[in-house]
Amino acid sequence: MNVNDTMNETKSSVNGTNSLMPSAHEEVFREQLILGNPTLHEITEKIASIPTLTPNLKFLVTLFVFASMALWGLFCMGYTIATGIGVWGLNNPVGWGWDITNFVFWIGIGHAGTLISAILFLFRQKWRTAINRSAEAMTLFAVLCALIFPLLHTGRPWLAFYWLTPYPNQMQMWVNFRSPLVWDVFAVSTYGTVSLLFWYIGLVPDLATMRNYVKSKFASKIYTAFSLGWTGSVRHWHTYEVAYMILAGISTPLVLSVHTVVSMDFATSVLPGWHTTIFPPYFVAGAIFSGFAMVMTLLVIAREVVDLKSFITLKHLDNMNKIILATGMMVGYAYAMEFFMAWYSGNPYESSVFINRATGDYAWAYWTMVSCNVISPQIYWFKKMRRSIPVMFVMSIFVNIGMWFERFTIISTSLHHDYLPASWGYYSPTWVEISIFTGTIGIFFTLFLIFAKFVPMIAIAEIKSVLPGSQPKHHDNH
């Protein structure tokens, strides 16, 4: 038993009874969040051992596949920068295509992480502890994938990477603060920074656990450096919890602000199909929707592959599916409302864009989106479906496909047929764009696999606090 375990146990014994039996006051009507009544030491052993295991063939093959996708994607990014945006399928009416679709898609994915870490934390949703670590990691990697596109999609990325930030310079040129793209830079960079800090702060106690747990001296040194001298003293715990609370507070508005700002890229334009006031709430709902679907995809795989079934229970998954159902209906409402407004406004350009979405050249994309996002989640009204692993795995993939097509539909159908019929065109991606997108999928999963290999996938310290009896009781003396 290592120091941290002791400290955690001390913490629980300070807070409550030593009994690991469920208390009559709580948990009796609720499903248990950890199955099998493990001891604190068993929890540590179970989770901390995962990074120390020698990777098996399955892991290595998976890593190889995703790393290859990532490398091929990186090559295509280099090819794009070296040759020009012309290697993509973009053209004159359609200035954005897969690039910004992917950007919004990945940013949306990230939202679940922040929501789980911050909002559910503030609302004391205890079931979050099993999934928040991987959700946060996912957020981070998704933001990283998302950040590739705003830079890569520019014609001259070697200038864009610093000209889009306000800095005093000899040209006396500032960014254009009226441009939603500049708001994007602020929103996404803030989001990325806060997400990183949040994830890292939450990780410190567990890194200390790993420092003590690992046998390799080299690994121990690295974990030592990153655990920032964590000893598990009460003072450390106190500071940690305050910091965590503050970061949760900072992150909470970000859940709403980031996708609101991203949606303003479209909502503030004059383009029919983009110029819509419903976009901010619609985008936030969509982001949470897609983020939960992606967390679901990852967790279903993780709990199968590394046997975390006792920590990530069907109750967790059930709760997440409820959120997917709720947010799926929100986006469904938004889709319907867009059509209503197109008709109600009496604006011929607006209505023609929406008729074109449902019946035009990109109708296949629109109906893919509707089937995946609105129709298919309706099966979650049934508890049996919410708790079926194969169903939820397929559904999570569906939702991800649907949400990707949502962004594609918004961007491409609005651009390819806008005001003057003479300028209309059609857009389809080239192999380079497709490779870059699959490349980001590769980067995302490669990073996630590396994360799973080196960092505890579940917050050890936090999950112990949801063990039955670990919570403070009203009859305790403080």
Binding site: T83, G84, I85, G86, V87, G89, L90, N91, N92, P93, V94, G95, W96, H153, T154, G155, R156, P157, L159, A160, W163, L164, M173, W174, V175, N176, R178, S179, P180, L181, V182, V185, D265, T268, S269, V270, L271, P348, Y349, S352, L415, D418, Y419, L420, P421, A422, S423, W424, G425, Y426
Partner: protein, 993 residues
């Protein structure tokens, strides 16, 4: 402190010797040079060193002069010249010949290189405006495929001199063998060239010239010859006509004088409420031409109906005007003709009287042209000063077919020993028979600008010069004589002008020839000696671009041969053609193929079909349905002469069963750009056969091709973005055109006040005929790249002005066409400006929407947010493959854009700044109206574009914007407040037509 303090009389010395010198000696000592330093040094000989050097060089000069002709070289400036300031352009006049149509040019040059061609405003045919083709010929000057080629000779160096010797030796030996020499030339309108040819033919009897143009249209000249005794085409003056009936005559499109016609036609297409006067254009045609697209009434007929409808019109016109001018025999010949559309046309023509005119296509039969001429004669519109002025004859437009048939028989008899192709590419446009006959000639020589198809069958090849590199002259149809002066020394050092080559060759053959003229320049100068006796007058003629006192040939009075007219009119029509008829028309862009290597023209969308880079088989939707072919399906079209494969293009307004294909494509040799572009339609024609309608058979190939079109959507979708009314509606309605001008007080903040200039533009859609001259003029002025066929298919063409073409149907279901030039609207509330994250596109204090290329990072957000989609993104480095000397064509006042940045119309900001500097230099605070003109405005033959200062209450643009009754702004409801005001289209419909 005064100088006197130091000018003391005190004496100083350095040495005692110096102290002892006398004052005189002292003065010598103190001088730097000896007293006699400037006198020549004395040698033993009486000749000084300087004299010796002078004598020596004189001897060398004499020696050099003895062995070669005196040089008349144009030297590009390598050192600064007194009157030439770097950066300040110089302008020179010259003349362009579109085959036999002369067109006066004003050439802008910077540091010795021509960078822009525009119409010469002192030349009565061009009047300062121009066409796409004229603008684009500049690119051919710098074409590497033209400039970087070398002669192919038998041994010796690749010099011009050696080339001339090789050619004249070949001719000498052929003549010695008793064979003849034939030189194939293209059509031209140069009096000196004609004189030169006559002189050579006279002195060298076995050498003859044959005019072999790529396309021949003899119908009009033939009818004029029989009836009026004038063996050439007469060019109508549309500005004098009130009712114009075009029977398959594409006056505004493929006509050689289309610029002249557009200007005259559009002058009467700008009605106002106070003066609602317009001309009326009827078009009778089987295919969709640019003239048809601009007509008020378009009657679609089968090609076999042309003579019938003309006869019916003639019958009705005679019925109301009498037959005295053409004779009773003509009247009786047409007495039984009927056509459902004829009476309305005849009624309007009769009403117009001598201001009515019928123009039949020159490619139509002699009979059709004769009937058209008879109608004009009956109406009284033929004669001096009338619409059809008999003095306005197109030079050398007489019949060419007999000469070609004669050449065929000569070639068959094997009497021709040497065949010289002087810029005639018969291997491309000739028929099978002609090609095999040509291959039987023992010696074939090419004098051509490009290493074309014909060069591949020639053993001797000499490169020739571009018209901007050589001397010449030209006479316009109305008699204006212009000198073609070279603007730059030949870029290809091994090239020579055809005329210079002819002079030198004939000199070698017959020393009696051209004893006084060493060069073609001397020849022209001598010919003009009587008119321009001294240098001053010569200089003035060059400066004006026209020779003022050149004699205009006298024309006789109108003399109608009524018997000849009756004979032609009563001639039996050709037997009805088969069900499927091919219509062969000149390309509106690459012409007959001579400009096929020009990227600007290849990429210029055809005004009607909007197709670039290649030709298509335009058919009606019904016909395509019958054949079971869709857009892009390749069909094989065959005649007795050969067959070609072309993709199908479904075109509105075509007669059923008619397939329209354009010339100029399918070149195989002569450059890098022209290869693999389209199909060679000349394979279907016999050489000497008229363009126009031929019987064809069509079969499916099962292949499919993507057509590179710049506009995929033809309908306007009922959107309120254009105004299109009839003249009657326009006159009667008082509110319809104003309801849309929304007030400017929608904003919660105060508007910006433009204190100085405020630039704006108006575009008259009623005057615009869609010719696309503005597109090319803009491309030349602003260094806009061509992107190639694949990138056009990808939707990345770069033109800053596109001519949006929309179709609509009138109440009878006839297709009507509408052109809307669309360029950056320089919106006051520009949606592009507030979305740019790096502030690369901003608003100037003079109302311009400016692009800062250096600042642009290429997010394309501005493009997405532009409601007009007029921004153009550099998706790739389009200039990567610009080979020297192609880079010399760039306008130095305009940045060449790299990849990854956005560009768009700037309202020619470089011209605005130049105008402002000019005003400042002259002590004026503001520029005068008309001082600054944009490139598009300058080129527009219709005068549809007006640019200027909207803050100047007297400017043309202000008046046009604020007093014009037809004004509207596109997408005004978005409150982007465009700076361009459009004037709606008005169609002059005959009531109950």
């Amino acid at each position: 402190m005064s100088n006197s303090t130091f000018s003391s009389k005190k004496r100083f010395w350095k040495t005692s010797e110096e102290f002892l010198l006398s004052p005189n000696e002292l003065q010598n000592e103190q001088q730097e040079f000896s007293a006699d330093y400037d006198k020549p040094p004395v040698f033993e000989s009486a000749v000084s060193r300087r004299t010796f050097m002078a004598l020596l060089s004189a001897t060398m000069a004499v020696g050099a002069a003895a062995c070669r002709r005196p040089d008349h070289k144009l030297v590009p400036t390598v050192k600064a010249v007194e009157y030439r300031t770097p950066g300040i352009p110089n302008y020179y006049t010259t003349v362009y010949q579109n085959r036999n149509a002369a067109f006066g040019l004003l050439v802008k040059t910077v540091e010795g290189r021509p960078i822009k061609l525009d119409g010469n405003d002192r030349h009565p045919i061009s009047m300062g405006v121009s066409s796409s083709r004229i603008q684009a010929t500049l690119l051919s000057l710098y074409d590497p495929d033209r400039v970087l080629r070398r002669p192919r000779l038998h041994g010796g160096d690749s010099s011009v001199t050696n080339g001339i010797i090789t050619i004249s030796d070949a001719i000498k030996s052929a003549i010695a063998d008793g064979k003849t020499v034939r030189i194939l030339i293209d059509e031209h309108c140069s009096p000196s060239y004609t004189a030169l040819i006559n002189e050579i033919e006279l002195k060298i009897p076995s050498l003859k010239f044959v005019t072999v143009p790529a396309t021949i249209s003899d119908g009009t000249a033939s009818a004029n010859n029989s009836i009026l005794g004038i063996d050439s085409e007469i060019v109508p003056d549309l500005s004098k006509a009130d009712v114009i009936v075009s029977v398959d005559a594409d006056l505004l499109g493929t006509d050689k004088n289309s610029v002249y016609h557009i200007r005259n036609f559009s002058a009467k297409r700008k009605p106002t409420k106070k003066n609602p006067v317009m001309n009326m254009l009827f078009t009778v045609e089987a295919m969709m031409s640019l003239t048809g697209a601009n007509s008020d009434h378009r009657i679609i007929v089968q090609p076999s109906e042309y003579e019938q409808i003309l006869s019916a019109i003639l019958k009705e016109v005679i019925a109301s005007k009498g037959s005295s001018s053409v004779g009773a025999n003509v009247a009786s010949a047409v007495s039984s003709a009927t056509h459902p559309s004829a009476s309305k046309i005849a009624e309007m023509l009769t009403k117009a009287g001598d201001k009515g005119i019928v123009v039949a296509g020159a490619h139509l039969s002699t009979k059709a042209n004769a009937i058209a001429l008879c109608i004009n004669l009956v109406l009284g519109s033929v004669g001096t000063g009338k619409v059809l002025d008999i003095a306005h004859t197109l030079p050398n437009s007489n019949r060419k077919t007999p000469a070609i048939e004669n050449l065929r028989s000569e070639l068959k008899s094997k009497s021709v020993g040497v065949l010289i192709f002087a810029d005639t590419n018969t291997e491309y446009f000739g028929d099978r028979d002609m090609k095999s006959l040509v291959s039987g000639v023992p010696k074939r020589i090419s004098l051509s600008q490009y290493e074309d198809e014909t060069c591949s069958i020639c053993s001797v090849i000499m490169p020739t010069t571009h018209f901007l590199e050589s001397w010449g002259d030209a006479v316009g149809f109305e008699g204006t004589y212009s000198i073609q002066q070279p603007i730059i020394a030949p870029l290809n050092e091994s090239s020579i002008s055809i005329q210079d080559a002819l002079i030198q060759i004939s000199k070698a053959l017959n020393p009696e020839l051209f004893t006084t003229a060493a060069t073609y320049f001397d020849y022209i100068r001598t010919r003009l000696q009587s008119i321009l006796p001294n240098q001053k007058e010569w200089d003035n003629s060059l400066q004006d671009g026209i020779v003022k006192n050149a004699s205009i040939p006298q024309v006789g009075s109108l003399n109608v041969n009524q018997a000849g007219a009756a004979e032609l009119v009563s001639k039996a029509s050709k037997a009805t053609m088969s069900k499927t008829i091919g219509h062969i028309a000149l390309s509106l862009t690459v012409n007959n193929g001579d400009l096929a290597n020009n990227g600007w023209l290849q990429e210029l969308p055809d005004p009607i079909t909007k197709v670039t880079w290649g030709n298509i088989a335009a058919v009606s939707a019904k016909t395509a349905g019958e054949w079971g072919v869709k857009q892009g399906d390749v069909i094989r079209i065959s005649t007795n002469n050969g067959s070609i494969e072309v993709p199908t293009f479904i075109q509105d307004g075509m007669a059923d069963g008619v397939v329209s294909i354009t010339t100029g494509y399918g070149r195989t040799q002569g450059g890098t750009i022209l290869k693999n572009v389209g199909a060679n339609v000349y394979k279907l024609l016999g050489l000497g056969e008229s363009l126009g309608y031929i019987e064809i058979t069509v079969e499916k190939t099962g292949k499919h091709e993507i057509i590179a079109t710049t506009q995929g959507h033809n309908s306007i979708e009922g959107r309120d973005i254009v105004r299109d009314v009839t003249l009657a509606e326009f006159v009667s309605d008082n509110h319809e055109h104003e309801h849309h001008l929304i007030s400017n007080d929608l904003s919660i903040v105060d508007d910006y006040t433009y204190k100085g200039h405020r630039w704006g533009m108006t575009i008259d859609m009623s005057a615009c005929v869609g010719c696309s001259a503005c597109t090319t003029a803009c491309q030349v002025e602003n260094n806009i790249p061509s992107v190639g066929k694949q990138e056009v298919i990808n939707g990345r063409e770069m033109h800053w002005i596109r001519l949006d073409r929309y179709y609509s149907k009138d109440d009878k279901g006839n297709v009507e066409t509408l052109f809307q030039p669309m360029l950056c609207q320089h919106c006051e509330n520009a949606p592009c400006e507030n979305v740019c994250p790096v502030a690369a596109t901003t608003h100037s204090p003079e109302g311009l929407n400016e692009m800062t290329y250096n600042r642009c990072v290429g997010t394309r957000y501005c493009l997405n947010n532009c409601p007009y989609k007029v921004r153009r993104f550099n998706f790739l480095n389009w200039h990567k493959n610009d080979k020297t000397p192609l880079d010399l064509v760039f306008n130095p006042d305009v940045t060449v854009r790299m990849r990854g940045i956005m560009e768009k119309c700037t309202f020619c900001v470089q011209r605005i700044n130049e105008g402002k500097f000019h005003a400042k230099d002259h002590g004026r605070a503001r520029v005068l109206d008309g001082e600054i003109i944009t490139a598009c405005q300058q080129a527009c033959p219709a005068g549809a574009i007006i640019f200027g200062d909207m803050n100047d209450k007297t400017s043309k643009v202000y008046l046009s914007k604020n007093t014009e009754d037809r004004k509207f702004r596109v997408l005004e409801e978005l409150n982007v407040r465009p700076s361009i005001t459009y004037h709606g289209k008005v169609r002059n419909k005959a009531e109950k037509a």
